[in-house]
Amino acid sequence: MTNKFKTGYTIGVIVLAILAAMLLGAVILLAIGADVMKTYLVILTEPLKNKIGVTEVLLRMVPLTIIALGITVAYRSGIINIGAEGQMAIGILATTAIALLFPNLPRAVLIPFAILAGAVGGAAWGFIPGALKAKLQVSELLSTVMLNYIAAQLYTFFLRGPMLDPAEMTMGSGTPQSMRLTRNLDLTRFIKGTRIHSGIFIAIALALIIFLLLWKTSYGYKMRAAGASERAARYGGINVPKYLIIAMMISGAFAGIAGAIEIAGVHRRAIEGVTGGYGFSGIVVALFGGLHPAGILPAAFFFGLLIYGADMTQRLVGVPANMVQVLQGIIILVIVSTKMILANPYLMQRVEARWHAVTKRPGQEVQS
């Protein structure tokens, strides 16, 4: 009876939160003189109207899911990873290096090898803030953000230097990008006429793996214990620093995998701007998905929709695509406040009392 109310209450609060977010967004849209209803309609429905639109949303869902999964592992272990952007960049460099060095390996070997390289690159970049935090209590908020800058510079350096496309060199146009990577690295595009690639299955499989890791294995148990109560974990014989570092490396590895798949599936070469804010959007997806794989998949779809829909608003209604970043900011604020509201039992009690007062008169059994 009360449980049913609680579920209803939770859903109610979330619906109100979404409405509040849209309302806040509407104020900003009004301020830039856009047609509010039309903009929302374009963002939320236009991409779903045809095959290309849907697959493009799914395409964006892939890196969002994988990065959000990694962020979940870190978050659940008590460390907030804002460095996915940098870890992704390093992962891409590692993948590209492998593809450039071994272009003749067969597909079945090269693809796993290159993705693994991406994971190792990301993990290495995640190891640094993890170790700094575990051994020297350096705040990961600082170290991960700073490492993003370093990674971005390294990325540009490699694309302009050692990895620069020889064709660019001869033509001298100087676009910082690698050459078209070997076709043995290409992930299959399984729907003709679209860009959607087999990476989406990897993303879904990774979601399952993270669920099993965190909730079904002793490693996950230890990481979650370290995140939930460091003191109790230490008391229970758990080597908290070790699991912090492991969690951060997994988190980085996932960002690296996301980068590797993005290269192998979509761009087929390392170009500037691949990371494109996925590292930050991944944090929002992880939080929006309740830090659980089952929530992250739909959340990633939703954000894929937002990102792709925003591209369309630019074309169809003339609202800049940056608007999505504003919406993301609003959504973060709304998530945080929603969490606080849901954590307040007194408020729920008061609502429940009101609800019962209202519903008791006509037929008590209906809601109870």
Binding site: T2, Y221, A233, Y235, G237
Partner: protein, 510 residues
Amino acid sequence: MEQQTKAIDNLRIEHVTKRFPGVLACDDITLEIGKSEVLALVGENGAGKTTLMNVLMGLYHPDEGRILINGEEVRFRSPNDAFAYGIGMVHQQYMLVPNMTVLENIALGCKQSWKPWKLDLSLVRKRIEGVAAQYGLAVDPDAYIWQLSVGEQQRVELVKTLCLGAKFLILDEPTSALTPQETDELIALLKRMAKELSIIFISHKLQEVKDLSDKVAILRHGRVVFQGNTKDHSSSDIAALMTGHEVVLPHNDAPACTMGPMLQIRNLKVRSDRGFLALDDLSLYICKGEIVGLAGVSGNGQRELAEAINGLRKVESGQILFDGEEITNRTPAQVIASGMGYIPEERNTEGIVPSFSMKENFILKDTTSPQYNSHAFLKNKEIERDSEALRQQFDIRSPNIDVAAGSLSGGNIQKVILAREISRNPKFLVAVYPTRGLDMGAAEFIHKQLLQKRNEGVGILLISEELEEITNLSDQVAVIFKGKIQKVLPSSEASRRRLGILMAGVKDDE
């Protein structure tokens, strides 16, 4: 506040019922408190005492029933409403900002001192002086909270509540964190204050109830099972009514061990968090099948000793031998693996992971043992089976094994910890304040379990401030003072008076 709150001549709680999912916390409770009366509210953990007080403070709203002040019905939506009527509560956990002074902390709650652009601290200071003069309740307004002992912090809480104009005090287990000396002081103080105030205090300790209260109400499973004048009833009557059966605290009268040493601590030096030597050349020997009670005022190195034994604090010099094996400066995991059990002081934050379910907490130390782990995967079926068995064996009151451990009451949390530590079949147990703040029933249960383990040959280091607990259970009593063992004496020779002298740091010479 300075408001002329009317005096509360009579406060009546009528037929208050409060339900939580799956629990009837308060069941048709009716109580009445008159002017200058002290009502003791006693009952086991989870009997509904704190819930009832939260209803009275406006933190919860009763499902049924009402509250009357001077015959008029009142409705409190929040603690502020209760304050407006002059009702103030001192919670079990103190709500003070450690890096602010006493004066600043009190000004925080005192809205008259919030002048535009500045805080009128002189007004607050005047009020503190007024309270001090009226009740003989002295605090140093310029001391920082972190400098104060637990007892002094509690006095600050009291002053704070009184400065806000409380005429009616609710105290939730005021003595649970105090030393015996501080407890005596507090009781004397409350007696003086009772001349001008009405007080409800929640307690487990029958001695205080007898000393302080005029009336006593006993709650069991959310119902008032007894109400009466304190002076008409003996402590054992009240104890019997509380638990529903006559309480005889278990007593250790088995012969002392002859099975050889289990834990030998030699010349241990350990630093505290603030860097001074918390243990200074401490040596202690504990046999197999022996309980050694460590008596002492808290803060004399007890916490550091427990942590050093369990690998949670670095040992500077000295040696810890456990069953012949050196465990000095081993990691916590290694110490656990060698057969050490530990009931920590902070049961809510260290003994359990509060957000984890009960069953997850049962396996905190065993996630990698083959019993619950196969190829890194946790064996859920085995975990659930054993958890359910432990829940029943240790009489842990919760709807199921999936509830968050942090949502259980203090006594049940302690049973979860005890169940985990005992079921792991340790060779040695370090138990720190194992029954602090627990009701008689839970304390009795825990004492019995400890004695049973002792009789099975487990060595136990029992760290406690309750001298009765120590003398009842221990074979030997060691007194710790400033990081040194003052003296070790057989429990038969450990009189309350003698222990008190030793705990105060006086060397007794025989």
